[in-house]
């Protein structure tokens, strides 16, 4: 029952992509996640950018996987229906000397195999991005760059994997790994356990701890925090492309990002922290974001802020991905150090890890009946009034608005709950309910009631995210 060929530790974008890749083969695969839902770690809180392959040198594995991953997104989007748009990336030069750096990036990108790169004059830059600061000198344009809703991508990957036989176990916080015969026995904090012939370590920020549990390679993941502001879709500062400044040594700099859903993200900062759970935000960092964003888009305004958040990059010292069959213990494959451009590279990482598993001795036979496609779920904010009306004749709840800011219907919320997203945060990332300008002020009680009605739980049993995150403590 709990005996698998392969166990993947961590259901972020890396684990999800590996799971989906492996679901093509005749293997019993389990995906283990310590949180109550998938994609709640680094994969949730990042820039949501599909990079275009010019930022790093080809000597890095991450660069090659970034270029390979980028081109895989069009097909994935067709199959999995997640929000993705190739809106293009502009790296903007605000000083003459920046242009030299942009030519270096341009050459680097060409060598990496990035397609369509263009060095732009001031005029061309303004044509491509009218909201840019008038002091702009020029830019590097990468039309293959794009934007994505990262959590929706992970949800879709996991759903597709599950549809093709992968088992998902949430709230499975790995505590112990034990070699018994030819297998690994993995035990969670709550006493559940599974066994598997091969294990993929895709534990993100905790990949070093997981490796240690196996008695495998010693390395250490250093969390590097990135803080962001989310701006209302009504903002005048929404650019049509992702805007990068000229990068610095430690990060790609602070960006202005038009999200796929019409809001605007500004950030991230880059700050090394000690605590892997520290996703708090701070005043001084957040002030820096505005300053930096305004240098590129002057109309960025504090009045448009909906919320702020931060995420942690699971960085390794050498800055590269660590994708390798363990040389210390049998049957373990590491997929660690997946920081930027990990989201872009994820589809290619899936393939790469599959090959590593083969190298480790795992036999893979393609399934006869792999179904790559997911059923499209209606989202009423994308539909005309007439289409919503005809949907409502089948299920009237498609015309019942629960979240007014993001226009999410009760039918969408119920569908998400049935698919296992039964916490406030899980629902928020799956449907966008509560993600808009009122931040749940108006819809939280409606969502509570819908969860209670759909799952049969009581109000005090509804959670925001983790086990102790009750919303309601007592009922009158």
């Amino acid at each position: 029952m709990n005996d698998f060929d392969i166990a993947i530790v961590g259901a972020g974008v890396t684990g999800a992509s590996v799971a989906r890749t492996l679901s093509r083969y005749g293997l019993d695969v389990v995906l283990l996640e310590k949180e109550c839902d998938v994609s709640l770690g680094t994969s949730k809180a990042n820039s949501g950018i599909i990079h275009a392959g010019f930022h790093h040198d080809r000597k890095y594995l991450k660069t090659r996987l970034e270029v390979d991953g980028n081109v895989m997104f069009d097909r994935l989007r067709k199959e999995l229906d997640f929000p993705f748009k190739r809106c293009g990336i502009l790296v903007v030069a605000m000083k003459d000397e920046d242009m030299k750096y942009l030519s270096t990036l341009f050459e680097q990108g060409r060598e990496n195999g990035a397609v369509g790169l263009e060095m732009c004059s001031r005029e061309r830059t303004i044509e491509l991005e009218p909201k840019i600061h008038p002091d702009v000198v020029g830019s590097l344009y990468a039309p293959a760059g794009g934007i994505i809703e990262p959590y929706r991508f992970v949800f879709a990957l996991v759903e597709s994997a599950r549809k093709n036989g992968v088992e998902l176990m949430t709230n499975f916080a790995l505590q112990r790994a034990e070699r018994t015969g030819e297998k690994w026995r993995l035990e969670a904090g709550d006493g559940r356990s599974v066994s598997a012939s091969y294990v993929v370590n895709a534990a993100g920020l905790y990949a070093d701890d997981v490796s240690r549990m196996f008695g495998a390679e010693e390395f250490s993941i250093r969390p590097r925090k990135g803080e962001y502001y989310l701006l209302d879709r009504m903002t005048k500062a929404c650019p049509s492309r992702v805007l990068f400044p000229v990068p610095t040594q430690i990060s790609k700099g602070m960006l202005v990002i038009p999200t796929v859903e019409g809001t605007v993200l500004i950030g991230p900062t880059a700050e090394d922290v000690d605590d892997k759970a520290d996703v708090s935000t701070s005043v001084d960092q957040l002030d820096r974001i505005f300053e930096a964003a305004r240098r590129m888009v002057p109309s960025v305004s504090e009045n448009d802020v909906i919320t702020s958040f931060s995420g942690l990059r699971p960085a390794l010292d050498d800055g590269d991905f660590f994708l390798k069959v363990s040389e210390v213990v049998p049957g373990l494959v590491h997929a660690a150090g997946i920081q930027s451009p990990g989201l872009t590279a994820a589809p290619a990482i899936g393939e790469y890890v599959k090959d590593l598993l083969k190298e480790a001795g795992c036999t893979m036979i393609e399934k006869q009946r792999f179904d790559p496609n997911l059923q499209r779920l209606p989202r009423i904010r994308d539909l005309s009034a007439a289409d919503v009306d005809s949907l409502a004749t089948e299920d009237p709840r498609y015309a019942e608005i629960v979240c007014r800011c993001e226009r999410v219907s009760e039918a969408e919320i119920r569908e998400a709950i049935r698919r296992g997203h039964a916490t406030l945060d899980g629902l928020k990332y799956f449907t966008r309910a509560g993600m808009g300008r009122c931040q749940g002020g108006f819809c939280t009680y409606r969502i509570l009631k819908t969860i209670m009605d759909e799952t049969g739980c009581t109000a005090t049993e509804v959670r925001k995210r983790g086990a102790a995150s009750a919303i309601i403590t007592r009922q009158l």
Binding site: D389, Q439, G466
Partner: protein
């Protein structure tokens, strides 16, 4: 899609929407109210405390009682679509078209000659005031907490800290105490409270709840659920982090201001005033879009529902005049003078009585509101005490303005001395 046609569409069935609709109905025009919830009444229904109606009904009512008087008045001659959300208003060739989504009836297309925007306001949230820290469960707006406690009987915590001394926060300090919770503090960034004085006395002092003026919550902590907040004094305009202290709690209620809900208005092409976040309106409470009017908290945030009802009734009356094609001959610009944050409406019709609402920028005893027409004083109104959290209302009528002194480009300036 179901189609319906009325003279007037009212968006929102709270205090403003009901008052405006009654006025239109009384003049013999057809009118529909589209309301998102399953009953009329709006936010009044969750305000179970008293203090409503002193001006409107000359008696002290609870929110639901106040609402009920208006709900009773709407039972005949007004079409009410409940459980219906207006998602878009189009304006073409003088006709307004609204798309209303409902889980009961699908999509209804409502066409009307005029529209009254009466969507009210929403609460500012943590993101708007940028409180750093973690994002655990237990951080919610005071209004959401009020809804959960008073309507659904759900208590969202045990140990509470309230950020902001707005009226909803003060009312909730008392309400949470009654519900068996401990309210450890109310934290206010300004050196003076932002709610009504009577609420400070009745909701905090009577329960010995400490009010920290000139303090901010500088951080929220907790992984799954809130465990504590950091509180920092504000000294000469900026936080002194050396004096930060912590308060243990599991709940943070935010009462940090209200914002008119104008996304629908903006999409309909209505121009918004950056000071109030409400539509720019003329003396008739008509927005920049011909035939679209606004009243109540969607226009500017009021202190008292009585004022909302009064303003909305006036909007209804102006809609009737609009339908009868009775337009004002001329309108004068009204501008805020010394010590005034804003005056609404921003236009004055010199041929009739005008009612204004204004917010002062200062706290002052023995203040005088001075109205000037092109720098000639035309009216003085004495007030024993004014403060930014308390709205001032006054009238200017045709008798106050000498016809001979009025030019087409005359300006009415309202200041405080």
């Amino acid at each position: 899609m179901r189609e319906m046609r009325f003279d007037v569409l009212v968006v929102g069935g709270g205090a403003a929407g009901m008052a405006a609709a009654c006025e239109v109905r009384d003049a013999g025009y057809t009118v529909v109210i589209v309301e998102r919830e399953n009953v009329l009444g709006g936010i009044l229904l969750q305000c179970i405390h008293n203090g409503f109606g002193l001006t409107e009904f000359r008696e002290e009512l609870t929110g639901p009682e106040y609402a009920e008087r208006f709900i009773d008045a709407t039972t005949t001659g007004i079409e009410v679509l409940t459980d219906s959300t207006v998602v878009e208003i189009e304006n073409a060739n003088g006709e307004k078209t609204a798309y209303c989504y409902s889980g009961k009836t699908g999509v209804t297309v409502v066409r009307a000659r005029a529209v009254v925007l009466a969507m009210g306001c929403r609460e500012r949230n943590r993101g708007n005031v940028r409180i750093p820290g973690t994002r655990p469960a237990g951080v919610l707006t005071a209004g959401l907490a009020q809804r959960l406690v008073n309507i659904d009987g759900l208590i969202p915590g045990r140990d509470v800290v309230i950020v902001g001394s707005g009226d909803i926060g003060l009312i909730m300090a008392r309400r949470m105490t009654w519900a068996g919770c401990t309210v450890h503090a109310v934290i206010e960034i300004q050196p003076y409270p932002s709610g009504l004085t009577r609420n400070i006395v009745q909701c905090l002092n009577d329960f010995k709840i400490p009010l920290y003026l000139s303090h901010i919550v500088s951080r929220i902590d907790g992984h799954d659920r809130v465990t504590r907040v950091d509180v920092t004094p504000v000294e000469s305009g900026s936080p002194n982090y050396d004096k930060t202290f912590a308060i243990s709690c599991d709940t943070v209620l935010l009462s940090v201001g209200l914002v008119p809900e104008n996304e629908l208005s903006k999409e309909a092409g209505v121009e918004i005033d950056p000071t109030t976040n409400g539509p720019i309106v003329d003396a008739r409470l008509m927005t920049s879009v011909d035939g679209i009017f606004a009243a109540g908290n969607v226009l500017h945030v009021h202190d008292l529902v009585d004022y909302v009802s009064e303003e909305a009734r006036r909007a209804g009356a102006y809609v009737v005049k609009y339908l009868r094609q009775e337009y004002p001959a001329r309108q004068l610009r009204v501008k805020p003078g010394a010590n005034v944050r804003y005056v609404r409406p921003g236009k004055c019709d010199p041929s009739t009585e005008n009612r204004f609402y204004m917010r002062p920028l200062v706290v002052k005893n023995d203040a005088t509101v001075v109205v000037r027409l092109d720098s000639t004083e035309v009216k003085r109104i004495k007030r024993p005490h004014i403060q930014p959290s308390e709205m001032i209302t006054f009238r200017v009528n045709e008798g106050d303005l000498r016809e001979s002194a009025i030019r087409d480009d005359s300006v009415l300036e309202v200041g405080i001395e």
